[in-house]
């Protein structure tokens, strides 16, 4: 039974991420009164990119192709140590600190790969990415630590090990952590209020300019890595929210999984709504936006600590 579940998880992590990107694009198109590409268009794009030739810059070294492959392998490890669906079983222990350091390692290799190409656009988008990451990382770390303090373990699989208990004091911690992680994910994946993922205006973009030199197979790997990381983050947020409902209601594992997938779907709808109705923030307002994520994390930590003190 355990191996079937692991196999199911591998299949889902291969096919769901691109579907998520397709869903976001489709809803955005519907909101803008366009017909839009079909939901499975990202798969077609991926197949097309696999067939294409790779063009490498003359200045780039072996670091550039290696970095995207290392990122892919890190995100595949992450898909095993993050319990992003309720039936995920622990192959390794999903420690929070391992997660934090793997995310940092991933960012390091993205940066080093984009600097290696020698393109000026990559360089200045890298400097933007780093300055955002410095502000963003405390928010993600504190949100995860709040969960760890509230549940008194740093293993994500034990945190999301569902036990039906009317333990209402954990609900604020979970909701605040989830909202902090959602705000952080907007910055992390450079979605709309921070950066418009559809424009190719080099002066303003962050993520797109970092991968501007990738082509062919490399670009396919980078896009898949991006979408799987997005799905893992949303899965983590959905797990927090599912856990809130499960504290009150007792559901079996099938209903839990369906609920979790529904919450991921509604988060995708929320993302596309935000992208449709908000305008891109100017660069000096972005730290203000991250400050809100940090505030939610601080409040989550406060709620977690106050639980420990008063009981």
């Amino acid at each position: 039974m355990k191996y079937i579940l692991i196999g199911l998880q591998i299949i889902l992590s291969l096919f769901l991420p691109l579907l998520a990107i397709g869903i976001i694009r489709q809803i955005k198109a519907k909101l803008q009164n366009r017909i839009g590409p079909p939901i499975i268009q990202p798969y077609y794009n991926l197949i097309k990119l696999f067939k294409k030739n790779q063009i490498l810059s003359h200045d780039s070294t072996w670091v550039f192709p290696l970095s995207s492959i290392i990122n892919l392998s890190i995100v595949l490890i992450l898909s095993f140590i993050i319990p992003w669906l309720p039936f995920n079983k622990s192959v390794f222990s999903g420690d929070i600190f391992l997660l934090i350091y793997l995310l940092a390692l991933m960012r390091f290799f993205t940066i080093i790969g984009s600097i290696d190409t020698g393109s000026p656009f990559s360089s200045f988008s890298t400097s933007r990415e780093v300055s955002l990451a410095v502000l963003l990382e405390p928010a993600i770390i504190l949100a995860l630590l709040a969960l760890a303090v509230a549940f008194k373990t740093s293993d994500l699989f034990q945190i999301f090990n569902y036990a039906y208990s009317l333990d209402l004091i954990k609900i604020p911690v979970l909701i605040l952590s989830a909202s902090s992680l959602f705000l952080a994910s907007i910055v992390e994946f450079s979605r709309c209020p921070i950066d418009d993922p559809t424009t190719h205006l080099e002066l303003t973009m962050i993520h797109e300019a970092m991968i501007i030199e990738n082509s062919g197979l490399n670009l396919a790997i980078v896009e898949y890595t991006y979408s799987l990381k997005l799905l893992l983050f949303y899965g983590l947020i959905a797990q927090c929210l599912t856990h809130c409902i499960l504290i009150i209601l007792n559901l079996n594992i099938l209903l839990q999984s369906i609920l979790c997938l529904l919450i991921i779907f509604s988060l995708l709808i929320l993302t596309s709504l935000i992208e449709s109705f908000s305008v891109k923030l100017s660069w000096h307002k972005v730290p203000d936006f991250i400050a809100y994520a940090l505030t939610f994390s601080f409040l989550a930590v406060f709620a977690a600590i106050i639980n420990g003190v008063s009981l």
Binding site: L168, I169, P172, P287, D288, A291, Y292, L294, T295, F298, L299, F302, A303, I306, N307, V309, S310, L311
Partner: protein, 215 residues
């Protein structure tokens, strides 16, 4: 942590988020949410103490402080045509982080208060009350527009009310109604004043009101 504490601390959280925005309508909306959470804490306390008077107070709070006063101030904002409190003393997110620091300090203070008064059982309520006091004072100190001063004062008043609810067994109905009526009259007069100041000075920046203006 019981349900009263949960709602009281939720009210404190909305107070902190209110400090993080310079959009005055959003401030009013968050103030309204904060007051509704405060009223829910009162409602829960009234069920716990089986006190019918607190139940009525809860209804009055929602009707007057959570719905009527924000609506009235919204109308004032429409008339004087101001959207943002643009020149704050320090950036709004940093003010928000400072108020989180004050939330921690108020937790320590409420620990001391609880130790000296063992009959109180809601530590979260006292924490939320002191935190809302600090938030209101910070809001009044950091902002320069007269409407912001009013919102800060209302937040401070919410803090005092939560303190009263969580450490007493409920005040008499007549006292609370008197306080609410006074508050209502004060806010209406302040709203009219803001309107008059705007029409004679053409701005409502309270730091520049000491300069004489002749018309």
């Amino acid at each position: 942590m019981n349900i009263t504490d949960f709602f009281a601390l939720g009210s404190a959280c909305f107070g902190i988020l209110m400090l993080g925005s310079v959009n005055l309508r959003l401030n009013l909306f968050l103030y309204s949410l904060q007051t509704i959470f405060m009223a829910l804490a009162t409602l829960n306390q009234s069920f716990k103490l089986v006190n019918i008077e607190m139940y009525f107070i809860c209804i009055f709070i929602i009707a007057l402080k959570a719905l009527f006063i924000p609506y009235f101030l919204n109308n004032v904002l429409t008339k004087i045509d101001i959207q943002y409190d643009s020149n704050v003393m320090i950036p709004a997110p940093i003010g928000m982080h400072i108020s989180i620091l004050f939330l921690g300090i108020s937790q320590l203070l409420s620990d001391k208060i609880i130790q000296s008064m063992p009959s109180i059982d809601s530590i979260g309520g006292v924490t939320a009350a002191i935190s809302l006091l600090f938030t209101g004072i910070l809001f009044m100190l950091l902002r320069k527009i007269a409407i912001s001063q009013i919102i800060g004062f209302l937040t401070l008043e919410n803090g005092i009310f939560i303190f009263g609810v969580s450490i007493t067994k409920g005040l008499p109905l007549i006292v609370d109604l008197g306080v609410l009526l006074d508050l209502l009259v004060a806010i209406m007069i302040a709203g009219l004043f803001v309107f008059r100041i705007k029409s004679s000075f053409e701005h409502i920046d309270v730091t520049q009101l000491n300069e004489l203006h002749e018309n």
